[in-house]
C-alpha cells in the first residue's frame, strides 16, 4: 500500500514536469484564438500544418533550422576534437606546467559569463566577424567541462594499453586514433550530446552577435516573433516544439549517457 502511495506522488511530480511539454505539443496543433481558451486544450487540433506554414513564412523555418543545425554540428565536432586532444595530453603525458595549465583552464568555470561577453563582442566587432557563424562557433570550441570530462575518463585507461601500441610501432597520432578514440567512444558520445544541445539552444550570444534574420538560429528567430505586437502563438508553439524535439529524442535514446555525463560533471567537479 505504501509503495502505491509513493508511486502516485511520483506520478503527480512526473505530470508537473512533463505536462508542460505535452501541452506545448497540443497547443502547436491549435489556432492562435483557441490556444488560450478555457479550459486548456489537452487534445490535438487540426491546425499543425497551417501553423507550420505560417512559421515558414514569417521566419523561414527551413533556412533557420539549417542554420541552427550547421552551427550546432560544427561547434560540437570542433569542441569534441579540442577536448579530446587536450584531455589526452593532461591525462597521459607529463610536461612542464601541466597542473598549472589544467587548473587555469578549469578556473574559468567560476567566472560569470557576463565578464567575458563584452570584450568578446568588441573583439568580434573589431575583426568584422559580427553577424557571421565563426563569431558563434569560435568562442565555444575550448570547453573546460569537455577537457575535464575526457581527462577524467582517460585516467581510467591503463597506460599499458597505449604502450603496447607504441611498442608495436604506432606513432602518437595513430595511438590516439586507433586506441584512445575507440575506448573513449561512449564518453565522447555523451559529451557530444551535451555540447550539441547547448549549441542548439544557445540564445544570448547569438542574439547579440547575429544581425541578419536569414542567418538567425532557431531560438533567436523565435524570440524575434515574441516581440511582435500581433504575436501568433500557434506558430510560436510549433517553433518551440521543434526546438525541443532534438532534446527529447536524444534524451530518450541516450538517457544512460546523459545521466552518467551529468554525474561525472557534478560529483567529481
Amino acid at each position: 500500500m505504501k509503495g502505491w502511495t509513493l508511486t502516485f506522488v511520483l506520478a503527480v511530480v512526473f505530470g508537473l514536469c512533463v505536462g508542460p511539454f505535452y501541452w506545448l505539443a497540443m497547443a502547436a496543433t491549435h489556432a492562435n484564438a483557441d490556444i488560450f481558451s478555457w479550459p486548456p486544450k489537452f487534445y490535438p487540433g487540426d491546425q499543425l500544418m497551417a501553423n507550420t506554414a505560417k512559421l515558414e513564412e514569417s521566419i523561414g523555418l527551413v533556412t533557420v533550422l539549417g542554420n541552427t543545425l550547421y552551427v550546432a554540428v560544427v561547434q560540437t565536432a570542433g569542441a569534441i576534437v579540442v577536448s579530446l586532444l587536450a584531455g589526452y595530453a593532461f591525462a597521459k603525458f607529463t610536461f612542464k606546467g601541466r597542473n598549472l595549465l589544467f587548473v587555469l583552464l578549469l578556473s574559468t568555470l567560476v567566472i560569470p559569463s557576463g565578464v567575458t561577453i563584452i570584450p568578446i563582442f568588441e573583439m568580434m566587432n573589431d575583426i568584422g566577424l559580427i553577424d557571421s557563424y565563426p563569431a558563434l562557433i569560435l568562442p565555444s570550441l575550448s570547453v573546460p567541462f569537455g577537457i575535464f570530462l575526457t581527462r577524467q575518463s582517460l585516467l581510467a585507461i591503463p597506460d599499458e594499453l597505449l604502450d603496447a601500441a607504441r611498442i608495436d610501432g604506432a606513432g602518437e597520432l595513430r595511438v590516439l586514433w586507433r586506441v584512445v578514440v575507440p575506448v573513449m567512444r561512449p564518453v565522447l558520445a555523451a559529451l557530444a550530446v551535451f555540447l550539441f544541445l547547448g549549441a542548439w539552444n544557445d540564445f544570448l550570444w547569438p542574439l547579440i552577435a547575429m544581425r541578419t534574420p536569414e542567418m538567425y538560429t532557431l531560438p533567436v528567430a523565435l524570440a524575434s516573433l515574441l516581440g511582435l505586437a500581433q504575436t501568433d502563438f500557434g506558430q510560436i508553439m510549433v517553433g518551440t516544439a521543434i526546438s525541443s524535439l532534438p532534446m527529447m529524442i536524444l534524451f530518450l535514446i541516450l538517457q544512460r549517457q546523459f545521466i552518467s555525463g551529468l554525474l561525472a560533471g557534478a560529483t567529481k567537479g
Binding site: G3, C17, T108, T116, L173
Partner: protein, 300 residues
C-alpha cells in the same frame, strides 16, 4: 619473423619525425590553449580595463574607479542585489529539500516504474531558454494559464502571476524550482545508490528506525554531495538571468531585476560597456566571496 616485425616499425618511425613523444603533449593542448587565451584569459583582463573606462571605440576614455563609485551609489544596483539575495535565500533551500525528497522517493524499492519517473523529472533541466520562456509565460498567464487552471480545482481565484511585484518574485521561484529540482534529485539519487547497504542492515540489526537511519546514515553519507549542490545552486542563483529575462524583463517595478540582468541591460540595451563591465566584476567578487565562505563553512 623479425623481418615482418621491423617493417611497420620503420614506417611508423619515419612518420614520427614531426610528432614525437616529447613534443606531442604541447601540440595536443595548442587548440585548447589558444581558445582559452583568446576567449577567456584576454576577455577577463580586457573587461577589467573596460570597467575603468567610459565610452567605446575611439571615444573610450580612462576614468579610473568612477564606474565602481557610481555602482556603490546606484540604488538600482542595490535593488538588483537585494532581489537576487532574496530569491537565493528562498529558492535554493526549497529546491534542494524537494530534490532530496524526490531522490528518496525514486530510490525506494517499493515504487513502481522508477525509470519512467526519473526520466520525466530530469527533462525540465534540458529545456532551452526560449522554449522554457514561452512555456512559462503561457503557464503563468492570468487568464487561461495552466497554473491558474490547476489552482482553480482548489478554489483559488486566478492570480496575476507576472503582474504584481510579490507574485512576480514567486513566479521566478516556481520557474527555477521546476527547471532544476529534477537535476539535483538525479545527483542525489546517484549519491543514495552509492551508500553501502551494509550500513543500513547493521543499523536495522541495532534497532534503528527509518527516521534514525535517515539522519544517522543517509545525511552524513550524502554530505559531500549535499555540500556540492548547495555551492553550485548558490553560484548559479547569484548569476540568475534566464528567468527574469524571459518571464518578467526585471519588472514589475524592478521587483525581479537581478545583477546579471542589470549587467545585460547596461551592456546591450544602453551600450554602457564600462559600467556593465564594472557590474560584471562586482558580481565575480560576490560569487567568489560566497564560494570561499561556503567551502570554509563546510570544512569546519
Amino acid at each position: 619473423m623479425t623481418l615482418t616485425l621491423s617493417r611497420p616499425r620503420e614506417r611508423a618511425r619515419s612518420r614520427r619525425s614531426f610528432v614525437t613523444r616529447r613534443n606531442v603533449p604541447y601540440l595536443l593542448i595548442v587548440p585548447a590553449l589558444a581558445g582559452f587565451l583568446v576567449f577567456k584569459a584576454y576577455p577577463i583582463l580586457a573587461a577589467m580595463y573596460i570597467s575603468l573606462t567610459t565610452g567605446a571605440g575611439a571615444a573610450r576614455t580612462f576614468v579610473g574607479l568612477d564606474n565602481y563609485v557610481r555602482l556603490v551609489n546606484d540604488p538600482l544596483f542595490w535593488t538588483a542585489l537585494w532581489n537576487t539575495g532574496l530569491i537565493l535565500v528562498v529558492q535554493v533551500p526549497i529546491m534542494l529539500f524537494l530534490a532530496l525528497l524526490l531522490a528518496l522517493g525514486l530510490n525506494s524499492a517499493s515504487v513502481r516504474l522508477r525509470g519512467l519517473w526519473r526520466l520525466g523529472v530530469f527533462m525540465p533541466s534540458l529545456t532551452g531558454l526560449v522554449a522554457y520562456g514561452v512555456m512559462f509565460s503561457v503557464i503563468l498567464r492570468k487568464d487561461a494559464g495552466l497554473l491558474n487552471w490547476l489552482l482553480s480545482f482548489f478554489g483559488v481565484t486566478p492570480i496575476d502571476w507576472l503582474g504584481s511585484p510579490f507574485w512576480a518574485r514567486i513566479s521566478i521561484v516556481i520557474a527555477l524550482t521546476w527547471h532544476y529540482t529534477g537535476y539535483n534529485a538525479v545527483i542525489y539519487l546517484a549519491g543514495l545508490q552509492s551508500i553501502s547497504k551494509d550500513l543500513y542492515e547493521a543499523a536495522m540489526v541495532d534497532g534503528a528506525g527509518p527516521v534514525r537511519r535517515f539522519w544517522s546514515i543517509t545525511v552524513p553519507q550524502l554530505r559531500p554531495i549535499l555540500a556540492l549542490t548547495v555551492v553550485l545552486s548558490t553560484i548559479g542563483t547569484l548569476q540568475l538571468f534566464d528567468e527574469p529575462l524571459v518571464l518578467t524583463g526585471g519588472g514589475p517595478d524592478n521587483s525581479t531585476l537581478t545583477i546579471s540582468l542589470y549587467l545585460y541591460l547596461n551592456g546591450f540595451r544602453y551600450f554602457d560597456f564600462g559600467y556593465a563591465a564594472a557590474i560584471a566584476y562586482a558580481l565575480t567578487l560576490i560569487v567568489a566571496a560566497f564560494g570561499i565562505a561556503q567551502m570554509r563553512l563546510q570544512k569546519t
